[in-house]
Symmetry: C2
Subunit: 330 residues, 2 copies
Amino acid sequence: MGKENSKPTIVDVANLAGVSVGTVSKVINGKSVGESYQKKVKNAIRALNYKVNSYAQGLKASKTYTVVVIIPNTYHSFFGDVAHHLNVALTKRNYKMIMFCTEQNPDLEQDSIDLALQNKVDGIIGLTYNPNLVISENVPFVSIDRAISPSIPCVACDNFAGGQLAAEKFAELGCKRVLYLRKGSDLNNEPNKRKAGFENGCALKGLDYEVKMLSDEMGDSVYDFVPFIKSHIKKGKPDFDGIFCSTDSLLHIIKGEIEKMGLRVPEDIQMIGFDGVREHGFLEYTCSTIVQPVEAIAEMCVDLLLSDNMKTKPPLVCLPVTFAEGGTTR
Amino acid sequence: MGKENSKPTIVDVANLAGVSVGTVSKVINGKSVGESYQKKVKNAIRALNYKVNSYAQGLKASKTYTVVVIIPNTYHSFFGDVAHHLNVALTKRNYKMIMFCTEQNPDLEQDSIDLALQNKVDGIIGLTYNPNLVISENVPFVSIDRAISPSIPCVACDNFAGGQLAAEKFAELGCKRVLYLRKGSDLNNEPNKRKAGFENGCALKGLDYEVKMLSDEMGDSVYDFVPFIKSHIKKGKPDFDGIFCSTDSLLHIIKGEIEKMGLRVPEDIQMIGFDGVREHGFLEYTCSTIVQPVEAIAEMCVDLLLSDNMKTKPPLVCLPVTFAEGGTTR
DNA sequence: TTGTATGCGTTATCAT
DNA sequence: ATGATAACGCATACAA
């Protein structure tokens, strides 16, 4: 008897149905099979509660219907949102998603890629920060928010347009002088284009502005913005009436700080953030913000990754952003 | 030549190294191998950039170092937090995590389990709501927040203690009459014990209270709490001085609503939530709250799932909660 | 200690 | 149309 208690295989099904394994395989894969055989096989499958072993399938076909997603984490609202929509987009196409959280650790990012290759996944989607990422050519890779190489498509929102939109909104809302606060990676990534777009918009609208940049890599703290802001307040009077923050997260911290300084939002100071993520999964935005089309980004990533009939993939895809009112503008 | 351009296999390594495949396999798996052979093999592996095919491995060993995590979504802060810590706990143990987001859809939950079985994963961790979940006996399963069957371990925070702790805090903070607002699933799950714990705590401390329960399944809206709250305000004067909300998310909505009614938090009304999730991944809590030990829960789930030497697994594990001040209490 | 051969479950290529 | 059989890449018992 031997392997009595192990899982049923295609052979067991064939035996019970009184047909050959080839026939069973055909039934499973929807190939043309005689009516009566069809029935016998299906009954046997049900009777044994047989499931195909996707590892054997993967070994044979070297197609695993599995995609690895590399992302810093899922507790941060924006990343959580991205991860979720990637999952939905993949599931919709019958793909499984293996997730690696890297906390922006360069080594972990590289390890994740190596592990993915080892697991013969059909592709990788990565939101990474490692500037020296080694990606072997034979595996489809789509990058989010960072151009890695010309042969690797990068998907992002239109960060430049987003920055410009923010500037235009401030102008429209009657602001005269706006601060741009940014803290992020020094890497040459897409979100850094928010600044250029913002400056462009300010120039277009004749809006006065000042920029303060802080760096992740340099270990700057968000609270380093505080003295900068204070230097713009003389005798309780700010010389600015708007603040554009590079992310909604940053906005929330800064909002708390300037409220401590006795300024009210949006009465005294109007604020616009970036990302447009809804905390708690609610529908309402927690601040006025430039909204990233996260779902569209996720869909685009998956489409690009899985379309093997596309000869030359676009090196950079920018998806449109929108402005959403969220209580920090008038 | 044939398969010239395909990935190198263990055979290619063996050929290049001038040894047998068995030897290569041993080197890969850290079995004892002669010093000189060791070197030759390792060089060949490097030269070919060889990676073991984990599908072939999985087929052979029927051990895949893969765990499926079933969770409603990752954009909601609490779920995102859970998913993240599960990922970290699994990665730490060299396991890969396949994620399925189900949005609490019962069919999707069942499908995810079936798919997991098909993929021969080593185990499943599920935060599910389907009351009729069919889980075949031969796959390790750990449930979060809901007891599914005596043979399936359930891991949760100590919800009863959490409810009681909230009541005790209210008493300590000088409250005389507290409202308990709960919206959730009617399923017999662990979080529903918060109510009993709260009532117990109120009784213990001689605290007056009233309870209002809303149901997910009945399609209730959180705004259905508004008339209930208003019925407790006579001529602008509330007959309560505290509100315990079954989740932080709910607290944030209710806080907005009662502020619209002209009540201030925490000056007029003190509020305590449940979950203790930090928005934006910050360190600060967004409200005073009963904090779930998410990391401990994740670790416990993984430990329980992967410990095969444990003969009888505990049917229910409750992990301790703590109170955190977050600006909605005095 | 090292090499050889068999099997894991599936699919695809043959004959039949 | 159906059945037998050879791969897929790896691990392991067994032989050398």
